[in-house]
């Protein structure tokens, strides 16, 4: 983690952080979108269902087991 002392003269300085206010809108929008994707791979038509039937569950069945999600 961070050296609290001054960096060695030959060492690389850490890159400048991206401002939180710039990252936040991307993080909220992108994060929600990615979580929706994860929901459809990991949980749809398992514990809860937005779509009727078992098509989604059956299609990603093997992935769900091997990625560690409770499947059925």
């Amino acid at each position: 983690m961070a050296h609290s002392v001054a960096p060695p003269a030959t060492g690389h300085a850490a890159p400048a952080p991206l401002p939180v206010r710039t990252v936040l809108p991307w993080a909220v929008f992108g994060g929600v979108l990615m979580l929706v994707l994860l929901y459809f791979v990991g949980a749809e038509q398992g514990a809860t269902a937005l779509l009727s039937g078992t098509g989604v569950h059956e299609w990603v069945h093997d992935g769900r087991h091997l990625l560690g999600f409770p499947c059925h």
Binding site: A2, A13, P15, P19, V23, L67
Partner: protein, 253 residues
Amino acid sequence: MNSATVRSLLVRGMLAGLAAGLLALLVAYLLGEPQVDAAIAFEDAHAHEHEAEVVGRAVQSTAGLATGVLVYGVALGGIAALAYCFALGRVGRFGPRATALLLSGAAFGAVCLVPFLKYPANPPSVGDPGSIGTRTALYFLMIALSVLLAVAAVLLGKRLAPRLGAWYATVAALAAFAAAVALAYAFLPAVNELPADFPALLLWKFRLSALGVQLVLWTAFGLLFGELAERATGVRAGAAPRGADGGAVPSAR
């Protein structure tokens, strides 16, 4: 300019996630599928009634598996890239590549390994269908808890660093994380729904291959995304001279 960097890191994270997903898919297909098939054979031998197949095994084990693993890779690659935007330059004096690998390792630990040790992956026929709601809720609760504790540990480490120095701050933060995880393990209910005569070796092989899928996914993601992020952040530095190792030389602060 900064917003463009975030967008470019997000896109690169999703691409790196897709590429890492392809490697993980190979592991899932070669190591995992034989165990899934064996578990389904066990299930069929013990089932009282047979359900009609909506999607055939040939599709489930190829196109279905690929859909699951690749979408998982893209989604987690995107989330990891967004976390990376917060982490870069804030967790110690690490360059873009080292930060990517550290983040990837932390994500493997917090998103996969810590939840896996409490609620491991189960092959078909392990787990009572009646308890799927409870098991899903517990699993996602464990992931959320583990990720929150990991973020808290990073913030704690940053706070302690000026007083203890980087090394002892990191050790203290990791110890606090381990203690909190141990508490969560102790208080969350255990799930044990293994059929009495399920082969132990098959369960072990299945869980090992599930862990292998994640290990390959996150290692590949960390290395690939690090390369892409180095270039994305190098562009931001503009006419920064290239170092002897090919990496951008960051400007002094």
